[in-house]
Symmetry: C2
Subunit: 182 residues, 2 copies
DNA sequence: GGTCGAAAGTAGTACGTCCGACTATATCCG
DNA sequence: CGGATATAGTCGGACGTACTACTTTCGACC
């Protein structure tokens, strides 16, 4: 699936050695982690898009569908989708435009606020997202090769980072402060 | 820096609960890991681009400059840059177009192969990449908040994944088979 | 030596993302 | 009540990425 031949050596390790050679030893580890994340995301996104291609979906559009499918009424405000997916409102507009064109969602007015728009999953959309999820589970999530302890390590470490970056408010007081500890 | 308010709850944990509720327990962990990686990359890229903005650089263009800066002659074939950065040749063309426009690199013909093009760092480019690297070290890598053990966990786990995906050939025989061990 | 396939790079197109500007509506308050 | 401000969503543009198609050149084979 990568359009490139495998490299003879790990480019992340290479970069780390370069950093250490320049004396940036403190930054070398985090730099390697950041670079690993960037490259892994690139590989994951490419794989996901390839898996979703038969459904005429991209990963971004799949995320919108999946989000809707987990709501009671299969319906959500554009604004809320934008907030939950942490993307710019125009990205949601873009995704919904295409999903609506494909008949997988509908835009509906909101009676209590005429500025707002509800996005609703159509029956076709519900069917497609179910199939797409099965495909992703089978061909991506179940075959990443991540070991259980790696999953917890990655999720745990990135959890802390995301919380610090303001992705979400870490559960400090009430809810449940369990960490992804092994 | 995120253009959104922090969410009240962790969306990754939320998704994981949804997966488990549907009975996709095997896939739930890797799904959470993948989602974490996607979101972390989004946050990291946004931060990096913001840090690089004063230098009129994006992270992609910075990567090209950094790659060149670590070669002896500050020079590299387009093709090789494409392979090392694992991006499509057209992405390199795009990046080099803009870097050349900014006077940070030059395209030079290759005497032994008239199809090929060498990209060479200009003195301005060398200066800019040095400053940009200092900025990234200071404002991104040294402030990710990753603990040492988290760095090794993330790098190690993604290392395995990237090797399996064909990002690079894992060192199995000769070179140096040390893993990202603590 | 000539042909034919492969390789390096570029142009054009599609898509996703962000930003800034804009419209329409809602809300706050004086 | 009415103007100022804030909010929901969209439009146009910039940028990064990938894909396809194309040109030029290389190299290999007959």
């Amino acid at each position: 699936m990568p359009q490139h031949e495998p490299l003879p050596r790990d480019p992340v390790a290479e970069a780390r050695r370069n950093w250490e050679r320049e004396g940036w030893t403190q930054a070398a580890g985090p730099m390697a982690a950041v670079t690993s994340i960037m490259r892994a995301q690139q590989l994951l996104l490419a794989r996901a898009d390839r898996i979703l291609k038969p459904f005429r979906l991209t990963f971004s559009r799949y995320e919108v569908l999946a989000l809707l499918s987990f709501t009671r009424e299969h319906r959500m405000l554009m604004k809320k989708a934008s907030a939950l997916l942490q993307v710019h409102p125009t990205s949601i507009t873009n995704a919904v435009d295409r999903l609506e064109g494909a008949g997988l969602v509908r835009r509906e007015p909101v009676s209590t606020d005429r500025r707002a728009v509800n996005v609703t999953l159509t029956p076709e959309g519900l069917e497609v997202v179910a199939q797409a999820t099965r495909a992703l589970n089978k061909d991506l999530f179940l075959t990443t090769g991540f070991e259980d302890h790696e999953v917890e390590a990655v999720v745990g470490a990135l959890n802390g980072f995301r919380a610090r970056c303001g992705d979400f408010t870490p559960p400090e007081s009430s809810s449940d402060p369990r960490r992804a500890g092994s």
